[in-house]
């Protein structure tokens, strides 16, 4: 069929292949992958492989009860990984997120349990501590130009020390089971009917935003997604999320803490992709000098990113304490730090800066938590968990480097 309608103003160059409609969208997607713009594809494939293998090894792995748990377990470290995504986007790193989360859980434990403060006041102080730590990192980074690697390594040690110090002589603080914290993290689940309502809202939301956007683009004389594609996408989301909700509802359902995590992912995704701040973050990660010359206050962006990261680390620490119903000298130690960083990278955030999405934290932490949960089900101890997670991380980083090279070759770097 030859169309006589005028081509949209953004597709008038005769060198452009016609990539309209569903098939065009698919062809464009293939082009992107070939060019090294892998997006979420590797982690999705990786997750499918890991789930298949673990399910074959232990038939309980994909059970509703286990997945419900897996999502809850993912949430605290996932929230921390969200912050890591932000610092990686500006090509920096924060190695102290584990210590900051541990300090934050100690603060909540002491203020809320030992001193009997109001729970929200205790949370506020812990979160504020995260804000201040990030701000201090930003100041040191901007003023003295010390690499973030070193600043946050110092932070890792100092805040671990502070955590040990404030908990000295106290040991472990048990958070009461009837406290709002523990109820939220262990016992509060979305009622089945509400979960379906939320799924419907998500699908309808996607449909409506895409539709309004397509209309506005057409009005402006630009190319737009056809209605069929929009319907297909939101339909797929409806079916996918609906099935997930139904399956999880067989067991206890979707925990509110996981809902909080997903909400934070969506908020950060919005901030990164739809706001001026997000553009600035990507620009700073892509080319600091260009960002500076474009009038972006580069130092403010760095500070804001460190603040976001430490704050999310503090929030993650509170969630971890709530989940365990305890804060102790070992909170936030061990593999929390590395899992959070690994999750961001496995999810597809580039270590070279300027590439990644908020969803990387979600997908990455689910991969890591799946490995952890699957190996625990197999009665394998943490030694195996470390080795397998390390291997997956190595794969992810190698893939990042290879796809970066491929992007350079295809002129998409």
């Amino acid at each position: 069929m030859t169309t006589t309608a005028p081509r949209p103003s953004d597709l008038q160059d005769e060198r452009l292949a016609n990539r309209e409609g569903i098939r065009g969208t698919f062809a464009g997607f293939v082009d992107k992958i070939r060019g090294g713009d892998l997006g979420a594809l590797p982690v999705v494939i990786g997750l499918a492989v890991i789930w298949t293998v673990l399910q074959i090894l232990n038939h309980g792995f994909l059970s509703a009860a286990n997945l419900v748990n897996l999502l809850l377990e993912s949430s605290p470290t996932g929230v921390i990984a969200l912050g890591i995504v932000c610092v990686l986007l500006v090509a920096q790193i924060d190695l102290s997120v584990g210590s900051v989360s541990g300090l934050s859980s100690a603060i909540v434990g002491i203020l809320f349990v030992n001193l009997g403060w109001n729970v929200f006041a205790a949370i506020a102080v812990a979160v504020l501590t995260g804000v201040v730590i990030g701000w201090v990192y930003g100041q040191i980074f901007n003023r003295f130009g010390v690499p973030s690697f070193v600043i946050t390594l110092a932070g890792l040690l100092s805040f671990l020390g502070l955590q040990l110090y404030v908990l000295k002589g106290i040991g472990t603080i048990n958070i009461p089971f009837d406290s709002p914290l523990v109820i939220f993290a262990q016992l509060a689940f979305v009622p089945a009917w509400l979960s379906y309502v939320l799924v419907a809202i998500a699908a309808a939301g996607l449909f409506l935003t895409d539709l309004t956007r397509a209309r506005a683009r057409r009005t402006a004389g630009l190319s737009a997604q056809p209605l069929s594609l929009i319907a297909l996408k939101s339909g797929a989301l409806l079916v996918g999320l609906g099935f997930a909700a139904w399956y999880l509802n067989i067991a206890r359902g979707i925990g509110w803490m996981f809902v909080l995590f997903v909400a934070l992912v969506l908020i950060l995704n919005y901030a990164l992709t739809r706001t001026k701040w997000g553009r600035a973050v990507f620009a700073v990660g892509g080319n600091v000098e260009a960002a500076r010359r474009a009038g972006i206050k580069v130092k403010t962006i760095y500070t804001s990113v460190f603040v976001v990261c430490s704050t999310l680390a503090a929030v993650g620490g509170i969630l971890a304490a709530s989940r365990l119903a305890a804060s102790s000298q070992s909170s936030g130690t061990g593999d929390v730090n590395l899992n959070a960083i690994a999750a961001a990278v496995i999810g597809g955030t580039s270590l070279f800066g300027g590439r990644g999405t908020a969803f990387a934290a979600l997908l990455g932490i689910i991969v890591i938590q799946s490995i952890s949960s699957g190996l625990t089900l197999l009665n394998l101890d943490s030694s195996f968990r470390f080795m397998v997670t390390g291997l997956v991380l190595l794969l992810a980083v190698a893939l990042d480097s290879v796809s970066r090279r491929s992007r350079t070759n295809h002129g998409r770097a």
Binding site: D13, R213, K276, A294, G354
Partner: protein
């Protein structure tokens, strides 16, 4: 020259006017007592040898460096340009030689970087429409504005960088070596773009090493030598040899001779009856004849 050379009778027609601008880096006197005038709709080429101070002058005008002495008048008002933002706010836009584009962002994102529409809920559509308008005004040949900058050619990247600087509606635009890294066709593309900037009534300052480009597009040539003014010529009243002499500070030296030889290569050699080749005529005379 298609555009008539502007008659600059009145100093108030100048958009930008520098007097006595001096800049030292420690013991190095990068600029000494520099004067420069730019009028609306005028293309001023700044030429000079390596280290002559061209980039330093650009950096002073774009707010990267503060001058140690001297005055800058913009729109007949004395101004100071303490930082890049104040340069942009005045209406002085600079396209640096390294372009400074973000390879991980697409054309629209680069064009609007730092000046996005609707900061809290980006207006992609308006930005895309505006991008196309701008690029079409400049007759830019860019197939898609939603591909990463990294996949564009050198000329296209230069075009994006220039288009970017036009978004803030500047009165003066500074181009640092806009054609240095470009091939023949792409150079022509960028020079056309400069013509278009002049048509829009902008004052254009173009740093260049290339005499052909300068002759093709500039109205006036300002020569810097060792950080000082060393000539201010109207194009059309000056030969490349004179400019080169001002750049190098000598009327007859290896550089001028060599340039002349390059010119003479296009002339058919005259073979004398005994089989030898006639000595070339005086190169300066040849240039005047042209």
């Amino acid at each position: 020259m298609t555009t008539p050379t502007l008659e600059r009778t009145d100093a108030t027609t100048n958009i930008l006017s520098l007097r006595g601008v001096t800049k030292n880096f420690g013991a190095v006197a990068a600029l000494t007592d520099i004067s420069l005038d730019v009028a609306a709709g005028e293309v001023v080429a700044i030429v000079g040898d390596n280290g002559a101070g061209k980039s330093t002058l650009v950096k002073i005008l774009s707010g990267v460096h503060l001058p140690d002495a001297g005055t800058i008048e913009f729109d007949s008002r004395p101004v100071s340009i303490p930082n890049p933002t104040s340069a942009l706010n005045l209406g002085i836009a600079t396209v640096f030689q390294d372009l400074a584009l973000c390879d991980n962002l697409n054309v629209i994102e680069n064009l609007f970087l730092g000046q996005e529409l609707r900061p809290a809920r980006l207006n992609d559509i308006a930005m895309e429409v505006r991008s196309w308008e701008l690029l079409r005004q400049l007759s830019a040949k860019i197939p898609s504005v939603r591909i990463p900058i990294a996949s564009l050619s050198g000329g296209q990247r230069q075009t994006v960088a220039i288009a970017r600087s036009l978004l803030g509606d500047p009165k003066v635009i500074i181009l640092d070596e806009p054609t240095a890294a470009l091939g023949v066709a792409q150079t022509a593309e960028v020079l056309n773009l400069v013509e278009r900037l002049r048509e829009r009534g902008l004052g254009v300052i173009m740093i260049s090493h290339n005499m052909a480009d300068v002759q093709a597009v500039a109205d006036r040539v300002v020569v810097l030598r060792l950080g000082r003014n060393n000539g201010d010529y109207k194009v059309g009243t000056v030969t490349p040899e004179e400019i080169i002499a001002a750049i190098t500070g000598a009327t007859d030296n290896a550089v001028t001779r060599r340039t002349s030889q390059v010119d003479l290569r296009s002339i058919q050699p005259i073979t004398l009856p005994d089989g030898t080749i006639a000595p070339p005529e005086n190169p300066t005379d040849k240039e005047v004849d042209r």
